[in-house]
Amino acid sequence: MRHRGVIPALASILMVGFVAGTPGSSLASPRKAQPGNQAKPQTRSIANASKDLDACSLLTGAEIAGLLGEPLDTLHPSVSSAGNLKISHCLFVTRNFAKSASLDVAMPASGDSSGRNLRAFWRNQFHSQRKDKQERLPASHKIPAQSAFSPSRDSQNVDAADNQSESEEGSESGKARAIPALGEEAYWVGSRVAGALYVLQGNRFLRISVGGIPNETTRIAKSKTIANAVLLRLMR
């Protein structure tokens, strides 16, 4: 065994529930969007919503066109199982692909009607501190051995930020950014190229990613608008 360290025993026990799900994902055929494509209104509360919820039904073509500034071209629905989560995915492809939007709705898989595991999953991903486990960690945790051939990892003098070390910046990049006043909890997770907005509400959480928007503030704002529209529909 190459790995070092005590087995995270209790955590492993807790994870058993997550890995006991049904394998595989299914991809439905792309659907050509109709001009009047209208999401079916949901008439139940989030907690009791249908297990077969289709993420593609949560936004209309008109809404997408209004929100993204591009007419909707096709819908790409799929469903996947992630342990005790069931994820309905929809890619809203606009005429200009770069401006498309991706929506995931994670909901409890069968056997977890209360959504307890889903909320535990959310807490684990967004609230737990990442430990310096003896496993290769994401780059934000890298502290490479200092080379004796150079005074620092890179001490360029282009600007002050050049002198930041990987570990310093890593401590920032490893965090999700809390987005206030959206759902029960919401976080923005992103880089300058791509990002996603995660929103927890009841026993579901959403993942929304929009493309083609250079400014991250605008990207977050668009994502929030989409989230609010989806939440509203889910609450009906």
């Binding site: 051939f149 992103g190 990613s209």
Partner: protein, 679 residues
């Protein structure tokens, strides 16, 4: 979570109780290791002994290094003095193994772990199998060539609901060290390489090409901070790029002289201000790319992704502004569109940016050559336990992914060392998209098993879409398999290190050319044992294996036979570790002639090359270097059959080698076999 709280509460309560109970026994013969001197034994060659560990109880939710702290109640210590006949010289001619057969009995599901802490503090363990059992439990731990001196042997409660004692039988065997098998004689036309290390930074009165002038505003070219380099080549101009840290070094080879000379320039992108997860990708001519080169840094003050269309003379920023949050380990790649392609695209190839956030790994596609990107579409979901990303279910992956590659039919592949197959077994695999990144599915190699911790696998596609996946298997060996149907079925994996007796490998890197030709580079050592341990003393070389028959057979060459790439451990974990100098990966590419180029960080330079006492764990700095280096193929057959016999500047096909293993650099010339310098 209520269950979790109960379990944690019970665990803590039991632990406290156990500590009190053990406290009562401190004056007895079963005193804990931390309150009095632990019991001790001595073992020498050819002997065996046994002892009982005191009962331990409890468990840990997070890795707090219990085996290092060894708190009473959760851990019991026994000191073992390992004696060698002639400590200083013993391992020059002999090898030793100390084996621990560690057993216990339990009435509830229990996992006990055995650890061996070396005299210099290096951890070995836990043993194998590391699992939870009821009834008779066992772990076996083997130390290969242990350093002599006082070791701490520890019985640690991992998941131990009741006080559980353990028993261990220790056996030490010694044997003459087998002589290193001579490498197989290279067949005529076997590939040969010359290594081109980056020259030093220019002093004030120095001029290139014997040195590199740091880019404007930089104090160094970053030549010695080149961990995890990536490499690309412009098929039109032949210029080669190796990027590490936030420097892009451009190398111009002059093949009019023999051996070819190299001119190094620091052509750093001004938008690569901060250095984190540097990635360079050249959309080269293999599948009709424009030779645009991308430079990506995970974080930056302005843009994190920039590109150049003129060999890094000028760089342009791409989409992006704002503060990064929670996104990690990005990769950039590209290639042709799958049919039907995008409705409208202003650049001939799809460019993918893939990364991980806090819940998913995702890919974004650009249709305008990387200027703007579409939404981040999940490629799989993972969960995080103790800071480690794990697959959540069959069809998902954990850990960190490797580098995205695209085949000629437009299929996109993201390799990953830890993907869960339908039977919930963790195996190397690939996330695959056949619809231009709109949807993804995970496919695994059925005869592969994940190693933990490990380095990324690598995938590459031949001209007619056969893919090759190189990886480090759970046994540490360098394996490679191929698939003709986008990963649905795989050939039996081949061990590319076999000709050299490679026992442990790191940093698998694969590139393909013709459909039946591919090259697989990896770092390998003939030394067995735990490569993560500070006292691992393996010597690592860069090996490159070639196939010319779709992976049926592989011809492996040692590209650095007289110059180790690393002495000692190669650390795959996070945080600060002296053996972390090479970081996470190397890279490989092919030029328009079929010549293979490997970009790697050389961790052993200067006096380390010949001084066998140096190692990455203890230094000196020459054994912890990260020098940007390019291994450039100069002989043998390349990856394009149509150019066999022409690609290395002559019409003989193996100009430098004559069938010999050749190595060297522009300064010292090519050395090796007698024919290595014939021109």
């Amino acid at each position: 979570m209520r269950l979790a709280r109960v379990l944690i509460f019970l665990s803590v309560a039991v632990l406290l109780f156990a500590s009190m109970v053990l406290g009562l026994f401190r004056n007895t013969s079963t005193a804990s290791a931390q309150t009095t001197a632990p019991p001790a034994s001595t073992i020498s060659s050819g002997s065996s002994l046994a002892w009982d560990f005191a009962p331990v109880v409890g468990g840990t939710v997070t890795n707090v290094g219990i085996q290092d702290v060894c708190p009473p109640g959760m851990c019991d210590d026994h000191d073992l003095n390992i004696v060698l006949p002639s400590a200083a010289t013993f391992y020059q001619t002999m090898t030793a193994q100390v084996t621990f057969k560690y057993t216990w009995n339990s009435t509830l599901p229990t996992d006990l772990d055995i650890f061996a802490i070396s005299p210099n503090g290096a951890d070995h363990g836990p043993g194998s199998p590391d699992n939870t059992t009821t009834g008779a439990g066992e772990e076996d731990l083997t130390l290969t060539d242990p350093v002599p001196g006082l070791w701490h042997i520890r019985s640690v409660a991992a998941t131990t609901p009741m006080l559980t004692a353990a028993h261990v039988v220790v056996t030490m065997t010694v044997a003459p060290r087998p002589t290193t098998p001579p490498p197989p004689p290279p067949s005529p036309g076997a590939p040969t390489f010359i290594n081109y290390p980056a020259p030093p930074d220019c002093a004030p009165n120095q001029q290139p090409p014997s040195c590199i002038t740091p880019s404007l505003g930089s104090t160094t070219s970053g030549n010695h901070t080149a961990g995890e380099p990536s490499i690309g080549v412009d098929w039109t101009t032949g210029k080669v790029f190796i990027e590490a840290g936030n420097h892009t070094l451009r190398v111009t080879f002059n093949d009019s002289v023999k051996p070819a000379s190299a001119f190094w320039e620091d052509q750093r992108s001004p938008f690569a201000r901060l250095s984190l997860d540097p990635i360079l990708f050249t959309d080269d001519g293999h599948f009709g790319g424009t030779n645009r080169t991308f430079s990506s840094q995970l974080n930056g003050v302005t843009s994190e992704l920039s590109f150049t269309d003129d060999d890094a003379n000028n760089w342009l920023p791409t989409q992006g502004s704002g503060q990064p949050a929670g996104v990690d380990h990005q990769t950039v790649g590209g290639g042709p569109y799958a049919a039907p392609g995008a409705l409208a695209h202003t650049y001939p190839h799809a460019i993918y940016y893939c990364s991980q956030d806090i819940v998913t790994a995702f890919c974004s596609r650009s249709d305008d050559g990387g200027v703007t990107f579409g939404p981040g579409i999940p490629i799989y979901t993972f969960t995080t336990v103790n800071g480690v990303n794990l697959p959540v279910a069959p069809g998902s992956c954990g850990g960190l992914h490797g580098h995205v590659r695209v085949s000629s039919d437009g299929t996109a592949y993201v390799p990953n060392e830890k993907c869960m197959d339908a039977n919930s077994v963790s195996r190397p695999g690939v996330a695959v998209s056949t619809d231009n990144g709109l949807s993804w599915v995970v496919r695994t190699v059925p005869d592969a098993k994940s190693i933990s911790p490990g380095s990324d696998p690598s995938v590459a596609a031949g001209a007619n879409n056969t893919i090759y996946l190189g990886y480090v298997n759970s046994d540490g060996h360098a394996k490679i398999a191929s698939s003709a149907d986008r990963g649905l079925h795989w050939t039996k994996s081949k061990d590319a290190g076999t000709p050299f007796g490679v026992q442990n490998a790191e940093f698998a890197e694969v590139i393909a050319g013709d459909d039946n030709r591919a090259a697989f580079a990896f770092l390998g050592t003939q030394t067995t044992g735990d490569t993560q341990s500070a006292d691992f003393l393996g010597v690592w070389h860069l090996y490159v294996a070639f196939t010319y028959n779709t992976g049926s057979t592989w011809t492996t060459v040692d590209a650095t036979p007289a110059d180790p790439v690393q002495r000692g451990c190669i650390w795959n974990g996070g945080g600060s570790n002296p053996c972390r100098n090479l970081l996470d990966f190397n890279d490989i590419t092919v030029d328009k002639t079929g010549r293979v180029l490997v970009g790697y960080a050389d961790g052993c330079t200067g006096s380390c090359v010949t001084d066998t006492t140096q190692n990455a764990s203890s230094g000196p700095a020459t054994a912890q270097d990260q020098l940007a280096t390019i291994a450039r193929q100069v002989g043998g057959r390349g990856l394009f059959k149509s150019l066999d016999g022409t690609q290395f500047g002559t019409h003989t096909g193996d100009d430098e080698g004559g069938g010999q293993l050749c190595y060297g650099d522009p300064a010292t010339g090519i050395i090796g076999g007698p024919d290595c310098n014939r021109h």
